[in-house]
């Protein structure tokens, strides 16, 4: 989260300038403003909250704070953001009052989307993002169930998957090694550049799923981490 840097000169968004001369506002610069009703909101009267949509980023982009979108506004991090979409032509629309043009594309890998989730590819200001949408009520139900499943499990294992396809140049750890959060564990060469892969959290290497010299595809399992030993453990430290 780095809102302070959001006031860079381009933060207003380049794209095609609105000819109305209307002030453009940043997405995050209008906290607490009243929601502006959109035409369809006005047409349908008071809106049932059951229509809210949970919008997340596709896994390839990494985690992002939960955003819930309703007709005419969205909320993220407890902030309410007024916004409406004006369709320009076909797959293009303008987001107001942000004043940016967006384009929707068919995402390439629809087959991998879980049932009940809709995936879209969005182009905005030169960025290309894949987002996933699910009715907010459904997402909350699913989360409650998953929290219940995990109750009682304090420490969890985790897996690292390849974020880029390439060739494994070297591996710095072996099964049983303790690693710190942020530690570089292997180097993957892609497009002739060497990319160090770092573990997101501390733990014990439980499995190394690749070997030096091997090639990996996007999403391949690289390393599985087991939770670090519990802190109050009576066992002797190695």
């Amino acid at each position: 989260m780095s809102r302070s840097t959001e006031s860079r000169p381009t933060a207003g968004g380049p794209t095609i300038a609105p000819t109305t001369g209307r002030e453009r506002a940043d997405v995050q610069s209008a906290p607490g403003e009243a929601a502006v009703p959109t035409p369809e909101g006005a047409a349908t009267g008071p809106k049932p909250t059951g229509a809210a949509i949970r919008v997340t980023l596709a896994p390839e982009h990494g985690p992002a704070p939960v955003m819930t979108v309703e007709s005419g506004r969205a909320s993220i991090d407890g902030q309410s953001i007024p916004a409406e979409l004006r369709w320009v032509a076909g797959d293009r629309a303008r987001l107001q009052p942000q004043g940016v043009e967006v384009q929707f594309l068919e995402p390439a890998d629809v087959a991998r989307v879980p049932p009940g989730v809709t995936r879209r590819e969005v182009l905005v200001e030169g960025w290309r993002l894949v987002v996933e949408m699910e009715p907010a009520a459904r997402a909350e139900l699913r989360e409650r169930a998953s929290r219940a499943d995990r109750a009682g499990i304090r420490r969890v294992a985790s897996e690292m998957h390849a974020m880029i396809p390439g060739r494994v140049l070297s591996i710095a750890v072996a099964v049983g090694d303790a690693v710190e959060a942020g530690q570089a564990v292997m180097i993957i060469e892609a497009m002739k550049m060497q990319n160090a892969l770092r573990v997101p959290r501390a733990g014990i290497v439980g499995r190394v799923a690749v070997a030096p010299g091997g090639t990996v595809e996007l999403g391949d399992l690289l390393i599985a981490l087991e939770p670090p030993p519990a802190q109050p453990a009576g066992e002797a430290a190695s």
Binding site: A52, T56, M67, V124, V131
Partner: protein
Amino acid sequence: MGVAPPFRRVLIANRGEIAVRVIRACHELGIETVAIFSDADSAAAHVRMADQAVRIGPASPAESYLRIDAVVDAVRASGADAVHPGYGFLSERAAFARAVEAAGALFIGPGPDVIDALGDKLHARRIAREAGVPCVPGTVEPAEVGRPDAVERILGHATEIGFPLLVKAAAGGGGRGMRRVETAEALPAALAAGSHEALNAFGDGSVYLERELLPARHIEVQLLGDATGRVIALGERDCSLQRRHQKLVEEAPAPGLSSGDRTALHAMAVRVATAAGLTNAATCEFLRTEDGAFHFLEVNTRLQVEHGVTELVTGVDIVHEQLFLAAGRPLSEEALAAARAAAEPASHAIEVRISAEDPGHDFAPTPGRISHWQMPAGPGVRVDTAVRVGDRVPPEYDNLIAKVMVVAPDRDRALDRLGRALDEVEVGGIQTTLPFHRFVTRNPAFRAGALSTGWVEDHWRGEAAFERAERLARLAAGLAQVSRTVAMGATPAAHETPTGSPDGGRYGWAQAAIEAGVDRWPG
């Protein structure tokens, strides 16, 4: 056709946009073309465009585009009478130039002896020093990476040069094999990694040390030379905007130089090239420190990625010149006239490199399939690319996928034109450097010409820009989805595919949009 073609058939020992660029130049001159390709490129643009194509091996560059024997076999098999090496791969390998000549074909570029003299960056530094051209401080002999007993000596040199310094590949280019080193402790690992990367990329693991000059601008001079020993400068380019020593934006002329600066700079470049006996085309690179002094960096004995901006400003087709020069013809009248006018350029050109990299995540590579592809056009716009919709950007090669160039009477108008052109660009399926270029084009410091090789680190906040964009994207997609569900009169949880047409009168403007969206979005 005005003049007789310099060659009958030219083999292009490269791939991607530069192979396409050379094929175009050849076809304009009535020359037949031969493409070579690896298994990753069997349906690539350069293969489609060439008159014939020869497979040279598997996807890995070491087993295909870097294999001198395989490429020379293709030269023989195709009956090509000349070989254009493009940039990268074998373009600066004297052994390749010699092998081509041994096979009875001409190498389009400086001769092997000149490649040896200038292509080896250490040797080039010695030539420049002897020609009285100031160099970036550093070593002039290769570091003995493989010898543990030499570590002390290397550290001694490093301490003399001062930290931070750069480990650079003697055979290098494009930042490959280069490492920035801040402390003596980090030096051995950087030498090993740089040497390994250099060996991989160029087949030569020699590395040396050079002081990191910061802040500085990267300014280079385009050179042409003919067999009579005459060398001319076609003007300079500013390529200061770099990331990991890979250029991102290039322009000609370099902003803010006086006519006197240009004359002096061009003369220094010509001096180095003449001392080395340069023929054909090359580029002499300098760093310009804040005091206005130029420091010789290296000479690239090949066509540069960014040659197009010089072409747009001078009107000279550098690849045509290369072809004629290789065939033994003298420098053209147009080239000589352009060289005479080089200190007083009459227009301004800018190029941005659209690469398969994520500018929101440290410019990490983003190979993958391109699902949507729209390039700009219109007055003063040139796009050099080898990509079309459905193409896969392979992870094995350079991630440059398009060069967008603009030309206008002056820099301000060129920037306005570039902004317009980049607004027309749409790429789906993979993230590219486009957001960074849109940012640069509108950045006041860049517009003011305040350039430096540290510019990207100083100005680009990729994560914040990504965060802003991902929110806009989610907001827009969410609103589109909400309006769709509301219009369908369905509870979103049902997630059903629409079958009937909603009441158009009731929803007004949203109607057409919803239908458009539904048509395109598989539920």
